[in-house]
Amino acid sequence: MSGSGSPERFALRYDETIEKSLESIEKLLKARYTFSKRMIALLLLQQDEEIMKMVKLREREFPRIFAVIQNTRSQYKDPLRYVITLQTHQKSKEILAGVVKDSDKKKRLHSVLDRLTIQPLTGIPILLLVLYFGLYKFVGQFGAGTLVDLIEGKLFEAYINPWVNQVVGNLIPWPALQTLLAFDYGVVTLGLRYAVAIILPIVGTFFLAFSLLEDSGYLPRLALLVDRLFKKIGLSGRAVIPMALGFGCDTMATLVSRTLETNRERVIATLLLALAIPCSAQLGVVLGLLSAKPLALAIWSGFIILLFLLVGYLAAKLMPGKKPSFYMELPPLRMPKLSNILEKTLSRMQWYFIEIVPFFILASVLIWAGKITGAFDAVIQATTPLMGALGLPSKAAEIFLFGFFRRDYGAAGLYDLQKSGVLTGVQMLVAAVTLTIFVPCIAQFAIMVKERGWKTALAIACFIFPFAFFCGYILNQALALLGLTF
């Protein structure tokens, strides 16, 4: 069959026992498969559930096949999957022995850099530097500060909003419809303004920084660095990627958590993302609020980090299932290419706009409906005692309510409250902590439902709602007890 000159395709031979069982299984397989019968037999020996099910349906002789599998398995100490993998790797090594030649040059520099980023003693300072310059300086100060001021202050508040308000006021005679489109909570003046003026620069700068880290090969090294810590909270180092992405957008990060190996890991990651990872919009506002008060900022970060570890640890203890294993390719550190980074950033921002902006619009509409019907006022009334327990004025209830629709609406509302000078330092800290822990935004919740199912998403939300206020309460009490003020 083999054409002129083209050599025979390589055929792998395993040890005699496996070869014999492969042969007898192949003989028993009568149906047609896309893969070779030998491969089907191999997958059966390794107890591949999907293939097992498929063969069971198609083959009348399945009991006999199953007997061969059982018999083969009993002849090895180790699982057959391990035995077969080992022999495959052995063969591949033999093939490559005559094909690949390595010299030692340049290896040394790479391994030095590897060690620097992976070992805790040097790795943690490097991580802190990356966080400081990448997250705080670039995203926090440049994105959430400079760019937002430019687009929001110079463009929207000076030109677009007054213009939209005027046009809507002139053209549309019904006040109800006017407020849907424009003024304080309108689709254009609030929904679109938030999307374009606040979120876009923050998320854009974050995605840019993230793509840079991704392409430089730093993330897998970070994964190795935190692997041991993450194991304690039921995750593996692999989870560092969705977690880091969460600082940009928790919604996207929840989507990315599907790359984790086990369902258990995915659920824990989803919970922690919803609970303890502030997204870039929140981070920007919280940093802006508290940066004038370093002690308050330190308490805020300390509290959130502690909570992240504690809840993760408890979740890992309580959730049934296997502990995660960790295996990740370690690509070399390389100089990122600008065009690749820009392309990645753009495609992520495009995703963000298509997937998330509709939720902004929806949130504006819901807030409008809540205002019109008086439902919001009723809820704010009802939660006043809760605010009292946290030591917050009743006006703060509005923030939490808005926070449910968009976490950043809530955070930005907090910003307005601070500017008007209603809140004391302690109140601000309590509110910031509670809001960070409090509900995922409506978009994140929708993705949680889509990715993890109704039951898990609801269970997580039902845990987080009261828990956020409980944490705020505890913190308020503790601050009062210590007599701390800022």
Binding site: F10, E50, H89, L96, G98, V99, V100, H110, E329, R334
Partner: protein, 192 residues
């Protein structure tokens, strides 16, 4: 007796007829597989150009990109699959890729590997071969391998595996023409 000879005649007649080039009429299917971070998507983009659709694989949340390409006057449907380490799946991504290989009946499966880590990736090539799939091998990132002082004898590898092998540095757009030619040649041989 008569019937016997008639059967014989029909058999020989069938044998002498060349196999039907069935897929000349439809698009030839080229599926890219490989572990994450080997430059699969870069190669995919270079082969397909701009017409790409990304969609969730039916019943899953894993994304699969499909694009079209024309190589040597033949139209191709090119499919970029989620990362896969082995034909024995652990993650949902790997499961989708295997299902795709089982259901789409590809005409060519291009296994993309990272030259620097080829020892970790060749086992999947062996598995694909063992599954009877029409495999060809793209050894990517040859430039980076060279930088760390590694040389790979691609001809020897092709001899040992009995399949076409090409070396590329897709991020620098190197070796792509040769790779495309290899695909076209492979498909022509399979039809003939």
């Amino acid at each position: 007796m008569d019937k016997q000879t008639e059967d014989d005649r029909r058999n020989t007649a069938n044998k002498s007829k060349p196999p039907q080039p069935a897929f000349r009429n439809r698009k030839t299917k080229l599926v890219l597989v490989g572990t994450p971070n080997v430059g699969k998507s870069v190669i995919f983009n270079l082969i397909t150009g701009t017409y790409v659709t990304v969609s969730n694989y039916p019943g899953t949340t894993v994304e699969v990109s499909r694009g079209a390409a024309k190589l040597d006057r033949q139209m191709y449907e090119v499919i970029d699959t989620p990362g896969m380490y082995s034909l024995f799946p652990i993650t949902e991504e790997e499961r989708v890729t295997r299902t795709l290989l089982l259901q789409e009946k590809p005409d060519v499966v291009m296994h993309v590997v990272d030259a620097k880590n080829i020892e970790r990736m060749l086992p999947l090539t062996l598995q694909l071969l063992e599954a009877g799939l029409p495999v060809i091998l793209a050894v990517n990132m040859m430039d980076e391998a060279k930088k760390i002082g590694r040389s790979i004898d691609l001809d020897a590898l092709s001899q040992a595996l009995g399949i076409p092998v090409a070396g590329t540095a897709a991020a620098l757009n190197r070796g792509m023409e040769q790779l495309k030619r290899m695909v076209a040649q492979y498909v022509r041989k399979r039809v003939a």
